[in-house]
Symmetry: C2
Subunit: 355 residues, 2 copies
DNA sequence: TAGTCGCGGTTAAACGTTTAAGTCCGCGCC
DNA sequence: GGCGCGGACTTAAACGTTTAACCGCGACTA
């Protein structure tokens, strides 16, 4: 804490912070009375109540949050971290999500503290640190997966947290997630309804739970419609443009009888890869090939052709998460531990044509 | 603070938080000694030093941050807010910027507190609130402009803050900015070097300072090269895809002798609008029309053709801002009040051809 | 031998709140 | 008139740190 002495002196001089004691003196009462009035608890006569309120107003008094928090053994802070997006990818919902949780938190008088972590180990270490030093009252996780070490650790410690995303079904912890399975099923049904029968799915690697749900939706829709699924149509790749590009090339090089006429991509980024592959092979998306993405990234509507996609109700996700987390932090029972929200299919030119 | 009593009891039971007193008892010394050891200030014999360290380790002790902050009259928190991006736009650098500042802050043992604000009034009110209640030690502003009320208010209050972006030249406050003027000049020189003479500029409305600098770079480059500038080539629009689209259409409808063969757009979003307009008019970007954007959004490389753009050194901006702000918060003199960083021209197919 | 000094610790106050417990006073009741 | 009671306010402890001030003691100096 070197050098903090000078800083403190300076702060003292510059910022004449007014404390509860100043208000008490000004109103001619004790600090306790001031506190009671300001938290309108306790029995205070209307007359002194007004006197205190007036004094507080006159001095421009606001209770010091740190002091209040110390005494209340809380911080009114919620921690959120995410892995930085690699330069060749984009995170279409971070902006919205951060806004949603921060806004919802503010309604309950909480704030959101963001901290970076390059690796999962670093993230776990930071959790540990923040819990031990009482930096935050709870955490918001996102992008959870099977066997997620963060979920495991936090539930084992019994520290309040909520997750955007699911994990092992047998683990009981509060989460909100998008029903990707339902969404993809609806999207594929939309493709089938438009006349497609050979539909491929750009899926994520096997270790991705979110990817598994989305793929499941695809399989279900095909099965429900009685359409056969060629093994080659289920193409697993990383969530990368270039991988999706290559994979799509291979799909479009299949013999005519097996070649898909529609592709369901697990993300907009992958859909862009597919779009570019099709373009480079002279296949016109929106006429010869239908394409649907996932996320409804802001760019989706500006692509050529505009990309159909599944829009996630991010604002509601954030809102729900915060309500759960705040309940948890304040020791109230959480009404609904598991919430599954439906995405919305946005149909644009990339898939809006009869085949 | 209703209902907090139960929460506190529960917390007490669940989380057996270990305090400095526990460590003192365990090591058989006073709390002062523990504190001196842990902050390695003060003179403590090596022997007790070890005993204290050992005790702290054994109990898993971490100092409670709230208590420490209360005593130090600081919060170790830096506030950052941004206006939510409208759904039809995207914020290409938020992700990076947030990461950069949070990471840099962490190096100095600070954390970043994010809070939303829909309007500028709301933002100002929140600043006021946070200052009065000592919620944060300083603020990071972004997207500043001429007569920026936030800059005005905070510097008048004398509260520590730094800004990503400039404001009125006569105002003296610490900022870091990207030299958009230099960047655009380089980009336009690149276009000229490729053989273009009729170059248009998609500029922002007159009230945008950032837009003014970028436009200035364009004008300079043209002047330096001795090229005349047709008034129609300076096309001001909002930072919107659709506006840029319409404007580009009009540019391309100009008579052949006045029609631009290259367009410098003030953002990637506008460049996409231009790209789509050209495409719809049958003009091939990357062969008949050159195009350069600004920001180097993650999608830029995946567009057809890949979009040339000016990449901002966001990580460095964040790093510099935090160093300045931390100095400010700790009462140290700020070494360099104004920092102007150069963007990097990323040349891709949209402009990489001889005309 | 007395005074001084430095070492290695402790004591206690302070940071700004909240809140349980206590005090004082006037009033009504038996 | 004594007692209990409730209203209105105060006292003081507590939250968990940091740190200025103090203290005892042995060694060194004059």
């Amino acid at each position: 804490m070197c050098g903090s002495f000078l800083a403190r002196v300076v702060k003292r001089l510059i910022m004449a912070t007014v404390t509860i004691r100043d208000v008490a003196r000004e109103a001619g009462v004790s600090t306790a009375t001031v506190s009671y009035v300001l938290n309108n608890s306790g029995r205070v006569s209307e007359q002194t109540r007004q006197r205190v309120l007036e004094a507080a107003r006159r001095l421009g008094y606001r209770a010091n949050i740190t002091a209040r928090n110390l005494q209340a053994r809380e911080t009114r802070l919620l921690g959120y971290t995410w892995r930085p997006t690699p330069p060749d990818q984009f995170n279409p919902v971070l902006d919205q999500f951060l806004n949603a949780i921060a806004q919802a938190a503010a309604h309950h008088d909480y704030r959101v503290l963001t901290f970076p972590s390059e690796t999962i180990e670093e993230e776990l270490a930071t959790y540990e640190d923040m819990v031990l030093s009482s930096r935050v009252d709870g955490f918001i996780l996102s992008n959870t997966n099977l066997d997620d070490p963060r979920v495991r650790k936090l539930s084992q410690k019994g520290f309040p947290f909520v997750a955007f995303g699911r994990a092992n079904p047998e683990w009981d912890f509060p989460w909100v997630d998008i029903d990707g399975r339902w969404g993809v099923r609806k999207a594929v049904e939309h493709l089938i309804e438009r006349g497609h029968e050979r539909i491929a799915c750009l899926a994520w690697p096997e270790d991705s739970l979110t990817g598994a749900y989305r793929l499941q939706g695809y399989v279900e829709a095909m099965k429900l419609a009685g359409l056969p699924v060629d093994a080659a149509w289920i193409a697993r790749t990383e969530n990368k443009h270039d991988d999706a590009y290559e994979t799509t090339r291979r799909l479009l090089e299949l013999p005519a009888a097996r070649r898909p006429t529609a592709i369901m991509a697990s993300s907009d980024l992958m859909a862009m890869g597919a779009m570019n592959a099709a373009h480079d092979m002279g296949v016109e998306v929106g006429r010869e090939l239908a394409l649907v993405g996932f996320d409804d990234a802001p760019v989706a509507r500006y692509l050529r052709p505009p990309l159909s996609s599944l829009r996630q109700p991010i604002a509601e996700v954030g809102e729900r998460l915060i309500v759960m987390l705040v309940d948890l932090c304040q020791g109230r029972p959480v009404s609904q531990q598991h919430v599954l929200l439906k995405p919305q299919l946005i149909i644009r030119a990339s898939s809006d044509f009869r085949f």
